[in-house]
Symmetry: C2
Subunit: 298 residues, 2 copies
Amino acid sequence: MNCIFGVDIGGTKVKIGKFINDELIQKEEISTNKQNKGTYIIPEIINKINEMKTNEEIIGIGLGVPGPAVDGIVYGANNLGWGIVDIKSEIINEFPNIKVEVINDANAAALGEAKKTLKNEAKNMILVTLGTGIGGGIVINGQIFNGYNGSAGEIGHIKVEHGNKRKCTCGLYDCVECYSSAAGIEKTAREVMGKELSCKEIFDLAKNGNVEAMKVIDDAVDKLSIALASVANTINPEVILIGGGVSKAGEFLLKKIEDVFVKYAFHTVKNTKLKLASLGNDAGMYGCFYQIKGETND
Amino acid sequence: MNCIFGVDIGGTKVKIGKFINDELIQKEEISTNKQNKGTYIIPEIINKINEMKTNEEIIGIGLGVPGPAVDGIVYGANNLGWGIVDIKSEIINEFPNIKVEVINDANAAALGEAKKTLKNEAKNMILVTLGTGIGGGIVINGQIFNGYNGSAGEIGHIKVEHGNKRKCTCGLYDCVECYSSAAGIEKTAREVMGKELSCKEIFDLAKNGNVEAMKVIDDAVDKLSIALASVANTINPEVILIGGGVSKAGEFLLKKIEDVFVKYAFHTVKNTKLKLASLGNDAGMYGCFYQIKGETND
């Protein structure tokens, strides 16, 4: 029995999935131990994997990290307290002779959704993650597309408004993240409705016909659609998947994006399929699994 | 001696290049004969190739067309009067047992610039063509990137302004093409300077310190930089090449784009290299040549 571990290392939790013959059969979470510049994180992952493994042969461990990664080395992950860390060597030291892959977490999620949700049928796709911020990951021909220095898919920072109306956490102005992320939607609600509401509360009000809440959502969808049209005009993907916490608004949100996207997309890409992601917080684990599988079996 | 022909079929002219051992040794132009739904175009190209060839062995003919092309078939090229035309079969009929490749002209130009101007050293690049309109072609890992239905690189239709200020020929509003193409720059000059000036005249005035002309150019550069930043945030190319007639403004234009691009690009892609394309109207011929060469030698 071939056993692969997919490990999604986040700023607060590490999610560890055990895959046997392509099935996720067990998942565990541990807190991300950021003490001492995050030096305990990998040892604690190794301990947990040793607990989870029984007598199967481990053929590989894939790890997703919140930062750029090349050839097993992470080049800075602020959320973990990491500078440049060679995590592949740390893993190989404990588990010699297995495959180890280290990839960016947004790319891992995109690969997971491309392979599992889309069944590897879309040649080119992009996953847009609408969370506190907005991230993205691109898969081309079934493989993660990194770009020149691992920054492909940073679509949260596409400019969608003018006049320096909102400053983004990145330092730029009027990025789509300022308007269509959970934080952006909550900010618009404060402006339009004069109230402190959670993104979920705003969607619930809109779904129940509240006119002001609908206006807030429509603004977020309008700005998001401008960014998605830019992306579609550039890379002409077969599918754009919408994921992240905000996408829990489901078909209500998807339908709105579909309606507005075609208003901004060039005629040759209006037929881009828009779909909801399906793996939720497990997407990264799945992607790490598929990254190992792709390296060993394809 | 291996002989390859690169043929760039445009709406007014067809440019035919003869390449021997990687060198362009002869180029000829014929008028594009659009009579009778463009049915004479391919026969006339064949005649010209027969004139140009001496006793070398032709190993391939690459053709660039102003429309989408898949597997040697062109799916509509309005500028030529073409509907769906199987030009590969027409060529093979006259020259059996050679390689024939049919590619989109914007992609052909990008491949030509990537291989010749950048010496195939940039893993990922995009060519932005600033002409009457704005086009683009993407090269990833030394190969043309088509996207799902051949529409990747349609970056002229990225939205860069708000309020439906200008309607684009494509039917959308406020595409970068409305502002930063030659036609867009001339339109801005009419608005700002109240005069009918050519794009070249506007650049010449700006270079000589005319304040109003400088304002016109600065606006075009600002909008273009917003679009290029969107592209860079999405695909993180190593190099963005600036080509097309407007790029004849040279270093004056390039310097301005470099200054403004970093204002809009996400921090991880601010180091994207911006360069001038160098092949001018020969880029398409070169790309068609390299497309054959890539298929036969690589």
